[in-house]
Every structure is written in structure tokens, then in C-alpha cells.
Symmetry: D2
């Protein structure tokens, strides 16, 4: 009955099993046999040489990525509704040592080249104004929209032409991929992405995210920053093992497809109440307060998001039977 | 055969069981039923009202504690060999936003009031020099010495009289308590300690430490700092559950006693090769390179620590049978 | 012929004379006889006990003020067009150690209680979002508007009720006072202002601004921050002497009145081309590119500010004879 | 009668004249005709292409230099008695965003390659320890010793071989050069120095120091850092004009020779009371408290520096007649 967050879901059985299997003697920090596999496994997955750091949270993955792409006296362009701006307690200011976020506009938290150019065009190229060093997008966005490879590439081209590093916050990257079916390389490094926060926790993980550097040299200083930020778990094998378990047999994709399927069912029920197309596992509905109350009455749990708007999030573990009652309730709204 | 780090040991069965038991639906971050128990459980343990934050690492626990006690333009007094100075990659500089560490002397990484007064006495009270805001000690120390309650209280009195916050890095707090049998209150808040990093990971945990504030009001801003540092796990229940499982039935104390017993067995075998008294689960031995090589030949694994000196660390999971072969080998050194 | 910035003007003769008079042996830093007079002289001026720090720039005065009012994990509310947001190269991010600026709206860079409440109302009071710690306004604003004491007091009441520190960037405070004739106390501390950056450089000074703390206790840590930021000039007497010379005989007010008179003359010529009422020494005009070119042809120098809009700034040293040709040229535009 | 600091001396007449001459209309910040000459003038002086930024203080010059040479997660090696460690209120921690100082030993605050190698040799090359990024020496040192070009080159070679940036704090660079007569190029860039804080204030300036980058590309980001730190004076012409005036006719060298001559006279009187050879304008004497009191009785003003040790500093404006009475009094000590 809970649709308030995919963080509420338990970890998937493969993750729990992997943790138990990793519960043995090994080297500390990231020298263990699990952590040592990450670079290779993700290089295979993306079809290019990458370097990967596990981190215990999405916020830390995002901020380590940005710290590799933006100097303290620079700025990161992101959407006004980006998680890094709205819900990370100012972590970018901390990790980037005072760098600034420059906020762009666009429906559904999606950035476009014109929106980025609006920001860039307003910056005088002198020392009195903070210059942009990087661009960050979220895929799927905070409102559940997915970028196509072409959309990412258009932003990547712009970033490259303006000397900006390019980061993708992929807290729900799996959901975006499950929706679009895009080729992983096309959606990331071939489109100019330098660093990807590849989320696992919302998708059935327990407490490990993967920070993927498509420019491998960016990892060097990042390893120091990870330790310096207190993120280098002394028993890192438990984090690496979770991630590897979700790469095995494409568990990450299977889980995301399940969550997306739930959202799609809700979307079909919602019809023109949808605020945005549903392209991941989040559904935003236009409902009156009374309608919201009627949906909550039987026990469905979700957040109000804006006046007259609620957010429903589905999770990897919700089968059709768990979704259908809410879908029916939505369809039955007058 | 491994004695290089207590981080190498697996998590204890109670922790693994607790994680499995927590693998269910609950609220995200620290709103879950496990996280919500921490304040009460630790308040009971210490016999005073405390507030407790879980963190994913000892470095982050230490740094959040220090950030609550020292302003960015101040300094923290610690021992030259303190973990915060030697092995945290400059994390205090990051978390304390440029504050300084002032390094004291003393055998076995143990600070005494005169050592602290030496530092304080060398600071001119003007704006040109960084003023001390806090004092940090490690208990058990980085060389395996334990502070008595009286020793802590003498430092606590000094700290109070000079207006310094007082932090205890307890990465091996359990080992210190298991050794001294000290009353927990006497060893901490009654002795003037404001914040304790209570370590669980080295003692059989998987990936959660407890930051205990004996001045509860210090927790308020720390909650923001924890999130801002990317340390607020979105599924925090797995961290809280580990800690609670180790508080149940005094698992933390049982584990520490086991590790200490192993170290004591090695100490007895070492005789006057001991560099320091063994008061926790670390043993430092004077050995020649040839002797070190002969100990390593059968497979015992440990670090060289200084010229002519090696470090042996025992763990919660090492039974007498696992220790005795090394003890015998040490005793058999010519 | 120059109207591009009041920073272009020379220092007034009283300042040059004061520097020459201070060119003698004295104690270093701020222990000299000039620096020691600042607290008393400004306390007399404002009719309350204040503490005052000289700083070499307006940016540093603003940032030291804000650092005293906002913790690193907090935010400062200011107008989108505030100098601290637009033209200080991210200095608030540096001095406030990663704190955030939250940007408000309003014509002429002027904040109102509803604009501030809009920002406050959008912040969830949880650790995921950065909480507001302080409010900063600019008086006169970046578009030459002056706040009345009542307007400041309304913001001060709001700040107090929400626990926000309250800073006034007074880079052109003298011009605001010269325009409104407001009582200095009413315009500042009685209206709830905690710290004022009292600008002298644009008003005929050479290189010294005064940071005035109406809560004297805020100065203590600020003295450390000033030194730590490399702002504590070793021969501070030259900075203090400038400021004192401009307080003598109300030079600061005389200079500001002269600059304002120039702007007023331009405003009268401009008629309905004015974008904003002229309440200080800045004039914003609606002109076409061709009109701007025709004004520049005889040598008048000024900045384009926005499409179809130019900025004219008058200075303390511009007599009527220096202004009239431009005023005539504006009046003669078709 | 004052020998406590060369900061106590007034500005030399050439500086005062230059300020008066610069008191005219010009562009703001560093676009003026004086600031624009700095690169060329210093390039001529050093015989290589350099870029130069004025700053209002030695602390800020040092810290901008170090920020260009050391990343926030790195460390700067300096002497334990270096000004950046002892007397800058933690400014390096602020400007370098939490980077660390690693403190070396050596008589007279002078670093040697073995002292630097001791520090480097103690750093494990792993992410748990802060790695050295830069080396900073002070010339003349805080105890008035001067480096020869060969001594600097030996440190420069070591720095280069270990990938360290190399900074020289030249608060009393002029005094060092006046003493050694060294070729400026040999003493700096040919010896591997990347950035020099070239001090003017203690040597007869009023409030401007020159930060000289021998690697011109380091200036780019430094310009942003200077503004971001609130150091970009809006009327920068007054700073540039001071520096240019002291370059004209080698005023900087003449002034330093005068100060050194005074110190040399004191040194001759002091004989074996000297703690260090006198190689600049500072004299450290072994005296008992009674002897110090007897020197102070007639009005000579100086600092106690350590038990049984006092510091005498001479200035550019002290003629023989001003020095001789103190020299006589020292010589007359029993």
C-alpha cells in the first residue's frame, strides 16, 4: 500500500544473498576481491574502459562526480528541480567547496540545450561572475521523464563546445534504461557524459551506489576525495558485492522493469490526470485534496507534491497485485 | 592467519541476522523503527540522555563530532599519531572547513594534560594564531593503550577549564572497555566527554558506527551536516539494525573481550618484545626483519609498523586455536 | 564624460590628506590609534554601541558579515540581482564555506516581506533541504532604489520572527541616506539590522570599507575570520584613517549628496525613459541601440545593462558642469 | 626607538607620491593603466615572462599562490616556524579548502632537502594519507636567514622530482636579495620556484604585495580566486601604483639595503649573543630578562621571542643615527 518512495522497499534477495556470501575474511577498504571487479564489470557493461567507485549514497556519488568536474570557483548548471539542488541539503556546496549551482528551467525537470544556453548566455566572461564548469542532468528526471540518447547527445555537444564537464545523476538510471531500451553507451559516454551516478539503492540495493567515470583519469583524485569525505567503508566488500549481484543476470534491469510496469499500470488508470508522461517509476497526478484523501482512505500512502498534485512511486518488489488496487481506485475517481 | 587488521574480519552472525530481519518495508532515511530506537538504547547504556547518529564509517563519525565542537577558524588538539591526523586523508580539514589539527606528543599515542598544556601554552591569544576549540583523544589509542576514567577526567577538566569541546574517537572503544572494565559513564560523560565515536565495524559490525552526543543539543546541526556530507543512507534501517543487534545481549562487549583475549595471548608470548602494554586488541612487537620474515613464512599476515616494529591485530572471530600458532611462533623466536 | 562606475572616481582630497597624515610610525594591524577609534566613532554615529572592522573591499565586508550570520550548512536569502549573487565571483560560497544563496524576486532588486516569505514557504523543515539562516538586502539597491526605515523594519520583523540574521549591503548606503534623509538608527539597528557593510570606496574613499556590527558580540569571531581571509592589512592605519576622514564633517554625506544630485539632474532629463525611480546615484534608461550610440558619440561612457537599457552612475566628484552635457544630450533624444 | 616590526614603519615617500599621482579617474579593479603594467615590469625584472597579481596583504599573496599549487585534498610542506603555519590564523586551511600543512624542521626556519625528504618519506602513497602537492619556503626566513640560489635550486630539484609545486614566501624577499646580491632569476624561476610572494609592505610600501607567477598559466584561475576572496580592490590603481613606484629606480632594493644595514650594525654589536647569522633585517639575541629590561629602559621597543631570546627588526627608514644608540646599548651589556 506504499507509494511514497522507492527507498521504502526492501533490498532484493540477490543483494541479501550477496552480502551473506561476502561475509568472510578479506582485505579492508576497496582492496577486496569484490571491489576489484567493479572496473571490469562496468567496462564490459558500457563497452568502454571505465573506472568505478562505490559510495554509500546517491548524494555522495553525485557530489564526488561533480567535484571531479567543477573547481571550487566554478559553477554547475542543473535544473531548478534537480535533486542536487532541492534535496541534498547543500551537499554540492560542501563537496565542491563553495562552488555554485546555476538553475535552469524546463518542464518535468528536464534540461534542453536552449535552457542551458540561457544560463550560459547570462554569464559575463569576467572574474566578477562565477563561470560554468559543468552540466548535470538527472536521468530519469525527478519527475520521471527519460532522456533519449539524442537528447543527451545534444546536451553533450553543447557541454563539449563550452568546455563543461557533463554529469548524469542516475539515481533511477535503471528505470530510464528499462523505459527507453536505449543502448547504454549511446545514452552515456557516446553522448558525452563524463561521469554517471549509477543508482542501485532505490532499485533493490541496500546501501551502495556506483560512480562510473567514463574518463578514467577522473577517478584518481576522486579516490582521495572519497576517503577524505569519510565515504571509504572499511569493509567495502559488502558494498561491492551488492552492486555485482545486481549486475549479474541483469537484476538491475529486471528490477527496474518491474517498477516501471507498476507505474505504467497506474498511468493507464490515471488518463488525463497525468502531469507528465510516465517514463520511469514515478507517477504525478492531478487530484483535488478530497480525491487525495479518498485515495488515502483505504491505506494508500504517498506524498503531496504541489498544490493539487501528488506523487506515486512504484518499486521493484511490487507485483501487479500490489498495484492494481490503487490503479482501480484512481480509475474510479469521479 | 591474518593479523593485519580487525577490518578484515567478517561481520558477526548477529549483525547478518539483523540485516536480514530489517529487510522489510519501512520509512526511508532515519525515520524507521530501528533508527528511532538509537537514542533510547544508548541513553540506557550510558545512564544519561544522549542523542545518537549512525554513520557509515569511523572517519565520518569522528569528523561530524569534531565539526560540532570546533569552528572552521579554530583547531582541534590531538595526538600526533591520532587516526584523525594520520589515516583519514585530511577528512578533518574537509569536514571542519579548514580548521587545524594541533599535534601533541606522548608514548603510545596517549595524551596527558601536560602534553595538552604544552600546546595550549604555545598559542598566543591573538587573531594571528589559530586558537584551540576542541580536544580529541582515541580510546583505545592507535597503539592499543586504554585510558582510565581518571585519565579521561583529568583531560576533561582541562578541556572544560579552557573552553574546549572534548571528543573521544572510540573506533576500539569496546576493546578499551573490555580491558578496563570501566563504568561507561565514568569513562565518558562524567569525565567531560561531549561526543563519542562508538565503533562497531572493527568489532564485528558490517558498516555502521554510532556517533553519541552527550550534549544532546549538538545533534541538531549535526543532522544537517550528516545529510550535507552524503552520509544519510536512504535505507538507514540496515545501519541502525546492525548497531542494535550488537547492543543486544552485550554482543559488542563479548566480541571485544574475544579480540582482547587473543591479543593477551600474543602479549604473553611476546614478553619483553612488547613495545607497549597490551590493553586492547593490538600488539606491537620489536622484531628484526629476519624475525618478521620467519613469522610470515608459515602464512601469518601483519603490517610492519616502524623500523624493527610490527603490528598484530586480533579480531572478534579469532578463537584461541587461531591465535595459538602465532603465539607459539613468537615465543619460539630466538 | 564617464558614467560607467563610481569606482572610476578618484579618492576625495580629505582621504588623500588623511593617508598622508597617517604616514607615520604606529603599531601594526589594527592596534594603531586610527583603528582604535572606529568603534567609538561609529557608535556615536548610530547612537548605539557597535563594533567595526575595516576591510579592503565591499565583497569582503559583505562576506564577513554573512559568515557571522549564517552557518556553512545554512542559506542566505537575497535578491536575484543582489551584488553578492551576481558580482562577487561566488565569494559567499567561499566565505560561508558552501552555504547557499536563495534568490528572491522583486522590481529594482528590492526585497519585500512577501518575496522573502515565498522563499521561506518553499523550504521543507527537514534535513534534506537547506534552511535559511540569514537575510541580506542592498541599500541603495543595485538598481538605485532606497529602502525606507519602515520597509527595512518590516523585513527586520520577519527576519526576527523566523530566526534569521539580517545584513544590509551598504555599498551605496551613503547615497541611500542622502536620498531619504532617514535617521541612521531607524534605517539600521532599530529596524533589526545586525550587520551593515558601510561603503566608502565608491563614495570617495580609496580602499577601505567599514563592517558595522550592531550586535557587538558578532565581531569576536569575525576578527579571526578577517585575519584568516588575508584581509588584516599589516598597516591598517591607512584604512582606518580614510574612514575617519570621511566621517569627519560628514564628508560621506556631502559626497553622496553630490553624486545623488548628478543622478537627479539626469533623471529629470530622462523623463519617462527611466526604468526605476532614481533614489541614489544610479540611473537606468530605456534607450534603443541607436540612441545609446548617439549618446556615446560625444564621449559619454556607460554600460549597457540589458537589452534596450543602459546604466549611468554619477560620482561624488562630478559637478553640475560635468553632468549637464549628458543631461542635455538625453533630453535631446528624439 | 622601535624595533618590534618593520610593519610599524611608515610608507616611503615614493609610495605616497605615487598614490597621489594615481588619484585620478581610471577604470575600476585591475583594468587601469598601472595594474596593466605589472606583468611587463616584473617580466623585465626577472628576465622571463611572468604574470603578476597585486593583493592587499602577504597572507593573501601566500594563500593565492598555494591555492594554485595544491589541491584541497593535498598538503603543503613548509617549515614548522613558517609564517603560513604560525601567523596567518589558519588562512592556508581556508584558501586551500582544507588542505594540510606538513611541518619540517631545521635551524632558523630554513628548510633543506633532507628535511623535506623526511616528510615525504613518512607519507604512505595511499588514499588514507594526505599526499604532498607543494613546497613552500620563506626567503628571507622568519629568523632572518637568506637562501642562496644553490640552496633554492636543490629544493627546486627535489620538488620537481616529486611533482611538487614550489612557492617562495618573500615577505622579506627584498632583504634577502639585498643581502645575498643573488641574481633574481637564479634565486627564483631558474631554481624551480613557481610562484613568489614579493613583499613590498614591510619594505616601505603601504598596502600592496605582488604575487608573481613564473608559470604564467597559474594566474588564470588565481584571478578568479582573488575576486572570490574579496581581494580585488575596486580601485586597484592605488595598489599597482605603489608597487610600480618601488620598482622604479630600484627603490625596493635601496630600502632593503638600508634596513639590512641597520641589522648588520646591531649584529656587529651583538657578537656571540646572536642566535642566527644576520642575513636580512632581523636580529635575534640571547639576553637574560634583566638584560632585556635594561635595553628597554631607555625606550627601545622589541618583542621577546622565546625564553632568553629577543627579536629586533630594523626598517627602511632607520638611519645609522637611529640604530646606533641600540647598538651601543647592546655592546654595553655586561
Amino acid at each position: 500500500m506504499r507509494f511514497f518512495s522507492d527507498n521504502a522497499a526492501p533490498a532484493c534477495p540477490q543483494v541479501i544473498a550477496a552480502i551473506a556470501a561476502a561475509n568472510t575474511l578479506d582485505t579492508a577498504y576497496d582492496g577486496d576481491r569484490w571491489s576489484q571487479q567493479l572496473d571490469g564489470r562496468f567496462s564490459d557493461l558500457f563497452g568502454t574502459q571505465v573506472r568505478v567507485l562505490w559510495t554509500p549514497s546517491g548524494t555522495s556519488a553525485n557530489c564526488l562526480a561533480l567535484a571531479a568536474l567543477c573547481q571550487p570557483h566554478g559553477a554547475v548548471i542543473c535544473h531548478r528541480d534537480a535533486h542536487i539542488n532541492m534535496d541534498e541539503a547543500g551537499a554540492p556546496g560542501f563537496y565542491l567547496l563553495g562552488a555554485k549551482l546555476l538553475l535552469g528551467e524546463g518542464p518535468g525537470a528536464k534540461l534542453t540545450p536552449p535552457a542551458v544556453e540561457d544560463i550560459l548566455g547570462a554569464i559575463r566572461p569576467d572574474v566578477h561572475q562565477v563561470q560554468a564548469h559543468a552540466l548535470s542532468i538527472t536521468n530519469a528526471t525527478e519527475y520521471g521523464l527519460s532522456y533519449t540518447p539524442d537528447e543527451v547527445a545534444a546536451l553533450g555537444d553543447l557541454a563539449k563546445s563550452r568546455g563543461l564537464g557533463f554529469h548524469m545523476d542516475g539515481a533511477r538510471f535503471a528505470n530510464a534504461v528499462a523505459h527507453s531500451g536505449a543502448d547504454l553507451a549511446d545514452l552515456t559516454w557516446r553522448a558525452g557524459v563524463d561521469a554517471l551516478s549509477f543508482g542501485f539503492v532505490k532499485n533493490g540495493g541496500m546501501g551502495a551506489e556506483a560512480l562510473v567515470f567514463f574518463k578514467p583519469e577522473l577517478a584518481d583524485a576522486s579516490l582521495y576525495r572519497r576517503k577524505r569525505a569519510g565515504l571509504l567503508a572499511s569493509k567495502g566488500r559488502y558494498l561491492a558485492a551488492q552492486i555485482l549481484a545486481m549486475l549479474d543476470d541483469d537484476v538491475w534491469l529486471t528490477n527496474a522493469r518491474a517498477a516501471n510496469a507498476g507505474a505504467a499500470m497506474l498511468a493507464r488508470a490515471a488518463g488525463d490526470r497525468l502531469v507528465y508522461p510516465v517514463e520511469a517509476n514515478e507517477v504525478f497526478l492531478r487530484v483535488t485534496p478530497d480525491e487525495a484523501a479518498s485515495l488515502r482512505a483505504p491505506g494508500f500512502d504517498f506524498y503531496d507534491w504541489a498544490p493539487g498534485e501528488v506523487r506515486l512511486v512504484t518499486s521493484w518488489d511490487q507485483q501487479e497485485a500490489a498495484i492494481k488496487p490503487l490503479a482501480d481506485a484512481i480509475a474510479a475517481l469521479p
